[in-house]
């Protein structure tokens, strides 16, 4: 069973963090089809977090078709996210390493590299939305 954690400096709201942690576990195969998520009450008690927040996270996961609530029984994983993209990770990582080498040769320090990546990533994400 998954155990949640909250990070107050993540920049994400508690409910987004819960959703992200389940998605992450699904992607890495830590949660599989048929696994039960902890009950809302257990998460609320264990993490001292608002039960409505946990419910909201579970509802979003349900809406995304990743889990299903069975009344009186619990919330179960219905689909995993560990997909075929794992195979693509290797080559993508190589590309990124090449790009990083180039950036360092151009004189960028770690902070500049991170800033450039983040702003490019954000711009690209923004274009998708618009």
């Amino acid at each position: 069973m998954i155990e949640f954690h909250l990070n107050s400096r993540s920049g994400l709201s508690p409910y987004q963090q819960l959703v992200q942690q389940v998605r992450h576990a699904l992607r890495l195969g830590l949660l599989e089809e048929g696994d039960r998520l902890p009950t809302v009450k257990d998460v609320a008690k264990q993490m001292a977090v608002n039960p409505n927040t946990v419910l909201k996270a579970y509802r979003e996961l349900e809406h995304d078709g990743l889990v299903a609530a069975r009344p009186g029984v619990g919330t179960f994983v219905t689909r995993t996210l560990a997909d075929g993209t794992l195979a693509a990770h290797g080559p993508l990582r190589k590309d990124l390493q090449r790009w990083l080498t180039k950036a360092r040769l151009a004189g960028l320090d770690d902070e500049s590299i991170e800033a450039l990546f983040t702003s490019t990533f954000r711009d690209a994400a923004g274009e998708d939305v618009a």
């Binding site: 993490m47 001292a48 608002n50 409505n52």
Partner: protein, 298 residues
């Protein structure tokens, strides 16, 4: 959903000073409401008005569909834990439970005794000899076992160490999940509010600055940074909460229901703490000029 707390033009004056004024609120049931604001802003006054310990000087307040403390039935619907979680120091833990049982028609004795056992409290112990954390837990036990529709807590964890604070909040959240309880709690700890609350009321200088669902509030506030510019030139619908300028740059914190498309701004998201601090530090005259209560609805 019905409102658990509704106020219209609510105000309270002590002699010449208004502790709370022009307060409009409409809080849905089933929420855990965080009430934040600086000391002396009127938080305790609002909570005492809601519990019926004070009567309004102006306006109206309705709690769980009735006037606070209007009768036996109304008293049973609302639990109130005052600041510093007071208990009777000369009475034992068991005496407190007996007291609660006799005074509250909906008293849940099984819940009370089970909680005391799980907390490891000795029923014969006098409340005056309990630690701060244990005393707070005893007060919370009385509040939960009363089985109210609304539990009001005035800075319940302010005096507790981090461990006792966490344990208190864990038990409170468990009770919310178990009993479908609405809660209003005041706190200075935004990190606690972010975890435990889903609705926020910011009270500054005796006025409600903003109130609404926390995720919605965070989503509709943004920080804009860009070349120096007069905030009055912003499009309608973007409300400036705070503005600061250097000779070249302007930084604004705005509330807006729609996306900011102006390419001259760098738009960054805000955390709950940023939003709370913005309302707390905004100049007082900016508050008086605008509508007193800004309800964020979606």
């Amino acid at each position: 959903m019905s409102a658990v707390l509704r106020a219209q033009g609510l105000g309270k004056r002590y002699k010449q000073r208004w502790a709370l004024q022009n307060c409009d609120l409409d809080v849905p049931a089933g929420r855990v409401v965080g009430l934040v604001g600086p000391n002396g802003a009127g938080k305790s006054t609002l909570l005492k008005l809601a519990s019926g310990m004070l009567t309004p000087t102006a306006g109206t307040i309705e709690v769980c569909g009735g006037r606070p403390a209007a009768g036996v039935e109304q008293l049973a619907k609302v639990g109130f834990v005052a600041q510093d979680t007071p208990t009777y120091s000369g009475l034992s833990v068991a005496d407190h439970l007996d007291f609660g049982k006799r005074l509250n028609p909906n008293w849940d004795d099984a819940v009370a005794r089970d909680r005391i056992r799980r907390l490891g409290l000795d029923p014969e112990q006098r409340a005056g000899r309990l630690s701060g954390g244990q005393r707070a837990q005893l007060a919370l036990t009385l509040g939960i076992a009363k089985r109210p529709e609304l539990l009001i807590l005035d800075e319940p964890v302010a005096a507790l160490d981090p461990l006792a604070r966490r344990e208190f909040m864990q038990d409170l959240m468990e009770a919310v999940a178990e009993h479908e309880l609405s809660v209003v709690l005041s706190s200075h700890l935004v990190s606690d509010v972010e975890r435990t609350c889903d609705y926020l009321i910011v009270l500054v200088d005796s006025r409600v600055q903003v109130a609404g669902d926390i995720d919605d509030l965070v989503a509709c506030h943004h920080r804009l940074t860009g070349p120096r510019r007069d905030p009055d030139t912003l499009p309608a619908g973007q409300h400036v909460i705070t503005a600061s300028h250097t000779d070249r740059q302007t930084t604004l914190l705005v509330r807006t229901g729609t996306a900011v498309h102006d390419p001259s701004w760098t738009v960054s998201p805000l955390g709950l703490e940023d939003v709370v601090l913005a309302y707390m530090t905004r100049p007082a005259d900016a508050v008086r000029d605008t509508r007193p209560a800004l309800e964020v609805l979606r």
